[in-house]
Symmetry: D2
Subunit: 344 residues, 4 copies
């Protein structure tokens, strides 16, 4: 029985972790922290969890965590997880951070895009937690930087083409995200009356997920790879769809391409390469840990168009975090994650 703690449990990734872990047989939720709902039972904050989680929310206390947990999920503002990682590691508590603190191979990249006083990860050694790409390293990791939602959809969509040296290292990514990706704190831009009937780009060409995407694509490609990235706030609660435009290095048929993708993911439970002519939708992965990938070639212009969809809160956050936990503890990777997408 793995004893689990969640820090920042009342955000949307927190409640999603608890939704998933509630049906995970090898796990016990032992510790939940929250700044705002301190002292309440979790199920009283989220009525959807009624009957599933009576754990009381506490102020974050590192000693309590060390005593009660084998692994901790952190869903905290940037920089917080970094402050406690060393202590947790030293005490043998594993850490899966849903923020950006541990996503970067080069600390300088983190320092450039996020604010920090620090200059390195200290004694902590970390891994980028995208299981389909880094499974072996994750197995032995003490600290995992769980990927961002956009990067997950993008990297899974492009990995076979980059590995296969099919496309140029200059990629245009147009992503569409549901509003839950903006988090649980009330802001004008996330209100119903502002979002409904509205699709809108934001952080154009400057979203913080860019360096994370470029790091992983460059690793796959073995060359410096640049992306133009435009995220869009879309009038839906969950889901990310990324449409990616890649210049083909050489002429290739859609059949060969499909074969390359299918082969690349043939042993991956959570990645489905759709049939030729089929395109992904966010609805078809709603509430699940799956990633659907569709492929199209525009022969007129020599362009590969890859489309991938995930649920931003599951494969894009909490589901992937549980997948990482399973790998780190030698549990079956799909344990607790066989949720079938909710359709319609």
């Amino acid at each position: 029985m793995v004893r689990v703690g969640i820090l920042g449990a009342t955000g949307y990734t927190g409640v999603e972790l608890i939704r998933i872990l509630s049906n995970h047989e090898d796990v016990q939720i032992k510790y939940l922290s929250s700044q705002n709902f301190n002292g309440k039972k979790f199920e009283d904050v989220y009525p959807s969890l009624k009957g599933f989680c009576k754990v009381e929310l506490q102020e974050l206390n590192i000693d309590d965590i060390v005593e009660n947990c084998d692994v901790v999920f952190t869903a905290l503002p940037s920089g917080y997880a970094m402050n406690i990682a060393e202590k947790l590691c030293n005490c043998g508590v594993k850490l899966i951070d849903l923020g950006a603190d541990f996503r970067f191979d080069d600390f300088k990249t983190y320092k450039k895009w996020y604010e920090t006083d620090k200059d390195d990860y200290g004694s902590v050694s970390r891994v980028y937690g995208l299981p389909e790409i880094h499974r072996q390293e994750i197995k032995n990791a003490m600290v995992v930087g769980n990927p961002g939602c956009y990067p997950t959809s993008v990297i899974l969509g492009l990995a076979p083409a980059l590995k296969g040296e099919i496309i140029e290292n200059h990629i245009i990514i147009d992503s569409k995200s549901g509003v839950s990706g903006a988090g649980h704190s009330p802001k004008l831009g996330n209100m119903y009356a502002e979002c409904n009937e509205s699709i809108k780009p934001y952080n154009v060409a400057k979203h913080r997920h860019i360096p994370e995407i470029e790091q992983e694509l460059s690793n796959l490609n073995c060359e410096d790879t640049k992306v133009i990235f435009t995220p869009h706030l879309t009038p839906m609660t969950r889901g990310i769809l990324s449409t990616m435009y890649c210049k083909l290095k050489k002429d290739i048929s859609i059949e060969s391409l499909h074969e390359i993708y299918s082969e690349f993911y043939k042993d991956e439970y959570f990645v489905k390469v759709l049939d030729i002519g089929e395109y992904p939708s966010t609805k078809s992965v709603y509430g699940s840990n799956f990633c659907h990938i569709g492929l199209e070639i525009d022969k007129r212009t020599g362009t590969l168009i890859v489309m991938s969809s995930i649920d931003n809160l599951v494969k894009g956050a909490s589901g992937q975090a549980v997948q990482n936990m399973n790998i780190m503890f030698g549990i079956d990777e799909d344990k607790g994650l066989k949720m079938v997408p909710v359709f319609p």
Copy 2:
């Protein structure tokens, strides 16, 4: 291992049955019929099921059913289930009908509200499949009439008050349903552009769920009970919220009332009586088999207001059908049905 058939498998209640049964360990899906998608694999009709259901859709053939199934779920137009029930029963195949064919204690009521040439149920003996009210009879039933979505929300919401003789036998029910309740066939009224930003009443005071509601309320009440029932099409995919207005027979405190409800449902896994001052929402039961009930008393007017929410496709249809199957086959009643609501 219970061998299951689904007739009319490609409607929304069909795909929801398959979503649920895919995670049910004691069940094997053996037979799926469909009029329109004949010859296709199920997962090719519904991409959300990709990897979960490779069974091929067939034309309805009664001999194949009898040979391959222990139980059959029917999601067919009115009258079809009735035509095959006798044969199935004689061959020992149990039947759970998601339509209205077997919901009525008095065949005349069915004949009055639905169209039929028949005058009785023949040799078939049937049960109204609301487990929280009729569990004992369901255990031994060969044929179960699975309740309608609206009636499920209404009867569960009113049962404790009626049993407790707290309210008069004249009840106003204002229900709001998501669009998936209107089914899978394209109709103008169910199109996105017609439904979004629109709430609209329909079938006012003449919806076919009225006789079903009155039958069960009258049974609970032991007196003839009448309802005024207005369903509303609401701009959401899933969910039913019923707001019910009942004249109190006597002065009663909200605390006593809450106690009566809590006591009535204390052993029911799927019904949650919310705390005093808490009201249900459709979102908090999304994708789950739960029913949430909220209570309020308007002292100024001596009125009890009961609010109940369910997911129309789960507790209002397919989830309840699986619950019935579990009871009929002596399986744990919550098996395959522990899905946590998807929130947000």
Copy 3:
């Protein structure tokens, strides 16, 4: 040319006033106040108004108002309009308050349901600004209490039946409102991810619109009339649908009833009595100042069911306020208000 000021211009009723007044030929917007956007041009706060309103937002200054305005619309927190009404009246500036400060015939009712130190309206004489009922008094009023959104839908829906002495004085009202009714300030409950796919009752039997509804219904009825009122937050931006259940005093045919309603509203441009068998939807009045009314009689139970729909921000707030202004200044009542509903 009527010179107009709007106090609290950046809320949703403010932007809606400006949308409407931008196409009103007899009006000039001279003064806009805002607490939060002080110093900005209005069109820079709301990009939808780009090119339509370059007026700069100011801090509220009573002398500037008096100097520049013939009429002021107030969309301020409870109590603020009351503080400035006397001064404005004395200076000959008319006041249309979109809040509740001037809605009550009896100040004690206001004091009971809202918080105030005051004990009366002072020298100010006010009118309840529902033109279809109080047109004559509005003509000569200096201060108009613009009705709440729910009350508008309810009173228009019930007036003919109450006037015609057709129904009992005990009425059940089940109302559904879009989220814009909750205002422009970010709150958790109004966020997209919380509201979408969710319908939920709130303030059950204790909403502050109850006394306002009862005042007007009692006036129409000439007897003390009580309502049971349940508002619901509905996953849409705009619109209110009220479904009202009334006990019939006597047997009446739907045709006679329809005739009474049609006669009552025969000279009203903004109220449409739908044909027998037709029901209103919020979509069919979207963005317009119309009220649609549908009628049904449930003979089985002797119940009249009235359904009415409005756009909560237009007929339920800013459109009605402009209608009142037109009346107060002798302008054609429909001036600036002929917006056709946006469908689909």
Copy 4:
């Protein structure tokens, strides 16, 4: 008074034409045809038009048209408008086709992408009806091919950059459309339960709007210009947002670029170039004839990102058609089209 006919009046572009023309003072609607609602009054088909349009729907009769109309709007299946154009022209009736029949300079392009037996336009001379680009030709045209919704958003967004020779002739266009763009006929893919919470690409790299876009961009550019075009069905009723990625020919500052765009559109009432750092949303043009354009430069990759939003049914169809009519009849171009966007 211009006498107007609409053929195919009950589709979404038809009802939108009537919404707009109802407030157009120089126009009289004289003739409406419909295949399905023949014999009904228009306002009985669309309750939102109640009180605005009592014209009876007729079967299409060319003689009646010629007798009663000065101009005809056609919203018919591909090929129909072409069949009647010659006759109408000969009788002096002008034609504005909302379909694709008259959008192409080269008939062969039409023949390649659409099905037709014909080999040329016959004696009909036509103009591509994008006023901001072709105003002069439209003035004297008898037949106008009203642009598609996607092309309108794309061409307006790219025209200044292409004219200014700032970008390469190879452009990636990622467009997102509301569901009303798919029309009024019930299809599975347009149903509420299928679309809500779902964004999905369709017709990837093969949408019929491609040749129309390339024709106009090539004209602007004076060189052969190719686009990669991916439309997405987005969970909203109205609106198109196009995000366009262009390789910059030379280094240019965002300020200079903004200046070029502002200059290009300085006399255009319906096109608004947003401030630097501001991005368009579909909501901010909802129900209006405006096009909002936002600009961003990704210096890291030398990419210009243009974002444009329109209401697909107004500037993308019926509003633009009325704009064309105004030009053709010497009426003020913005007459009847000053609708302020409905926000929120």
